[in-house]
């Protein structure tokens, strides 16, 4: 093996907004979690396990956000995931019969039956319904570094007009991490990579060592980082920032020629939820009869604006091999060039949404598996590394303040602040201000009911602040749901606020409190005093 001249750091950001509806099973949005478990989280765990069994030394970093951890730990959602799997197994069994005269479809139906049955086995029997411990295992054996995130993925550059709300997002993110992983996190994934220097002091306060920024978070830093994104920088407040590499990012993310667009890969948008006869598929689509994705897809991307061909697992594998090779070769030549320009070996930071791997790019987890094996076995000038390991090896870094930035379109705040969603900000700011007011007014409240109200107020503020609602509104899909979530959390907060301020707490109100405590049950151990 040739001498290592540099490092590559994969960072997967695993996040979903907190969606929990005990009042009804009809919320399609709750299925996002189940899709992500089947298509992303279980395949990643399975591939990590394979690498471990094959004694392949690899490194990867994942942020697991507090809402995701809370959902993965939620008994009702675990139960409903099992129900989801059983329904998919039933559908796959029916598909084997329905497609008996079509060999290609029939083979794929059998593949899905096997896959969903395996998911059920893994989830119940191997992971005991709790995937968090599955990921924790790989952290404990040293191949996976898990980092935290803001409590509910609140977007700092907009929330920071009230800095205490930023502090609470960070504090609860760290507390949630400690609860599940029994240690403090070294790193944090700033929600949407939204960086503001004002957050540094709170990151420091809660023991965070490093963050990930979009490329221009480093390139536009002050003073200009002399090694670009190929070395971390440290802010004057002591927070280390790693910047996203542009070249490796485009190879995966690009909508024009990114890997997920390979013609042999599975076509996301052709699903039997839309293709199968209506009466047949009706029990497996939305309860109101709307056709939706089922997860059973028989076609490959095939080409642009053409008739779709059947998905071929072997062809997809061939493309995975080819693209893993391309990514590998690109990094080798990139590092060869860069290593002569930097004092420390360069680091190529490759952050992606975890759900891209498997959900949007079905073959993504297998691509990672093949790539990691290739890096381990082939004669290679670089190694995989986690940000913490890099800091440990190369602690000398340039002092520079990262640029205010995000990883959204155009690099700043347009995704979360534009004509479609700007109406929400005054409410988000106001309930943040009111939460701070409550924490000061009812400091260390001893009355049990009042304390419950105050803690629920904190949950409602945090849930309203989720950047996902603003993003969904901008994106134009499932807008009604996102708007409703903002209205519900602001409305519930204001109702709680009025009751406690006016001291109007009767039996009916306690029933209401119990109701929303059950619905919005994120952060069971929350202490509202974090806002003081």
């Amino acid at each position: 093996m040739s001498k290592q001249k540099g490092y590559v750091s994969f960072i997967l950001h695993a996040h979903l907004p907190f969606i929990h509806h005990p009042e009804s099973e009809d919320y399609l949005e709750e299925q996002w979690l189940y899709e992500a478990i089947s298509e992303t989280y279980l395949p990643l765990l399975t591939n990590f396990k394979k690498l471990e069994e094959e004694k392949v030394d690899f490194r990867i970093t994942m942020s697991m956000t507090p809402p995701l951890l809370n959902m993965l730990d939620n008994k009702l959602l675990q139960k409903r995931y099992i129900k989801y799997l059983k329904k998919h197994i039933e559908l796959a069994e029916k598909e084997i019969i329905r497609t008996k005269n079509n060999l290609k479809e029939n083979e794929l139906a059998k593949y899905y039956l096997n896959r969903y049955s395996n998911d059920l086995y893994l989830f119940k029997n191997i992971y005991n319904c709790n995937l968090i411990n599955g990921f924790k295992y790989f952290q404990d054996i040293g191949v996976l570094e898990i980092i935290t995130c803001g409590a509910t993925h609140g977007y700092f550059p907009i929330l920071y007009v009230n800095e205490k709300t930023i502090r609470a997002q960070i504090a609860i993110g760290v507390q949630t991490y400690e609860k599940y992983f029994n240690k403090k996190p070294n790193g944090i994934w700033l929600p949407e990579c939204g960086y503001i220097p004002e957050a540094d002091k709170y990151l420091k306060e809660f023991g965070i060592k490093y963050i990930i920024t979009e490329s221009h978070g480093i390139l536009y830093a002050n003073p200009t980082p002399i090694y670009g994104t190929f070395a971390p920088i440290v802010s004057p407040n002591g927070i280390i920032a790693f910047g996203r590499d542009i070249e490796s990012s485009r190879q995966v993310w690009s909508s024009i020629n990114g890997y997920p667009g390979d013609f042999n890969y599975r076509e996301f948008y052709r699903d039997i939820g839309y293709d199968a006869p209506y009466d047949y598929i009706k029990p497996y689509i939305a309860s109101n009869g709307a056709r939706v994705h089922t997860g059973l897809k028989y076609y490959r991307i095939t080409g642009k604006n053409c008739e779709k061909d059947y998905y071929n697992l072997q062809w997809a594998k061939d493309s995975i091999e080819k693209q893993a090779g391309h990514f590998f070769d690109s990094r080798v030549s990139q590092i060869n060039f860069l290593s002569s320009l930097t004092t420390n070996p360069p680091i190529i930071v490759c952050p992606y949404d975890a759900e891209l791997y498997g959900h949007w790019w079905y073959e993504g987890p297998d691509w990672l598996y093949i790539l990691f094996k290739k890096i381990y076995y082939d004669n290679c000038n670089f190694k995989l590394i986690t940000p913490s390991e890099y800091i440990e090896k190369y602690p000398l870094m340039q002092i520079s303040t990262p640029c205010r930035s995000s990883w959204g379109a155009n690099g700043y705040s347009e995704v979360w602040l534009n004509n479609t969603n700007d109406y929400a900000h005054k409410h988000l700011h106001k309930i943040g201000d009111r939460m701070v007011e409550l924490a000061n007014k009812f400091s260390n409240e001893q009355d049990k009911i009042k304390r419950r109200i105050l803690n629920q107020c904190a949950r409602e503020v945090l849930l309203a602040q989720s950047s996902d609602w603003l993003f969904i509104i901008t994106n134009g899909t499932m807008v009604d749901y996102a708007k409703k979530r903002i209205k519900d959390h602001v409305g519930r907060f204001n109702k709680l606020y009025d009751a406690i301020i006016q001291d109007k707490i009767d039996n009916e109100f306690v029933n209401f409190l119990e109701n929303i405590e059950e619905k919005d049950c994120i952060f069971p151990e929350i202490d509202y005093m974090i806002y003081k």
Binding site: H21, E23, S24, D26, L28, W32, P157, Y220, N222, P223, T224, I226, G228, V234, G238, I246, R250, W253, S254, S255, I256, A286, A290, L338, Y352, D353, H359, W360, I391, P395, L396, I399, C403, R404, W407, G408, N410, Y412, S413, N418, N419, D422, K426, H427, K430, D468, F471, I472, N475, T477, M478, D480, Y481, K483, K487, V490, G491, N494, F512, E518
Partner: protein, 286 residues
Amino acid sequence: MPRKAKEENYIVKEIKKSTTVPQKTSIATKLEATNKSNKNSIESKILNISKVSKTKAKSDTAKVIKKDSTSITTKNSTKKATKKTVNNSNKKKNFSVEYYDLPNSYNQTIVKILAQTPTILFAYWDISVQDRQNLINKYSEDFFNNTIPFLVVTNKTKNYSFEVEINDYANSWYIHIPDSDCKYDVSLIRKPKNNNINIENNYVFITSSNDLQTPNDHILFENFSKSIFFKNVKNGLVEEKSIFSLSFMQNIGKIYNIYDLYKKIYKDELKNNKLDEKVTSSKMSS
């Protein structure tokens, strides 16, 4: 599952809203700008009429939204899902049916500013009932009819201000600013519309906003100094390095040439990575 912010191909609905491109003026020219805006009152009225109609359109939208109260993705499916939710809740547990609308006002006198981009501020504002009454008591019953609201944008870093005429039908505004990477604040003031009101100094200050540092939008080569500082994050020791050796500068040049190269290679994709123009207010005013 919603696509994530980093992913591409945004599909965005068109919702129009007013934005303002200010002319950069110094504090000394502020008065002149004010006079101009008074002279152009007919034009302003025409503009205001169009803004009013936009505001009305927005409130109509709000009414439509008010009717929606569920999560299922299509509007047609909404009613069915809501009904089913209620039925289920009756069978299982008594989850109360909740409906909330966002308050129109929190009865506060406030201006808040946010940075949408390095060169666009978003401002929202409100005046409390009590403060409105105080102004009426102090000046006249027709105070709000006889005055026009303005936002005074101050660049505290470069020490200049300019004014943006707004109207009483709006409660938020996008403001183009000339300089990125600067500290700004915005004040809400009112100026006499006519001679029916007598106001000292020709304006009434209502309130001012939070301070806001806008993002930087370019590589700061102009800030390069002779030496840079490195910190050992393990032991806290800081060391100074001179970067003005030829080899050092060549290396920096090569690294930043890579980024120029990326711009050329990914030209088309970077274009595609932009938000839909219809939703990007910076495009609205052009």
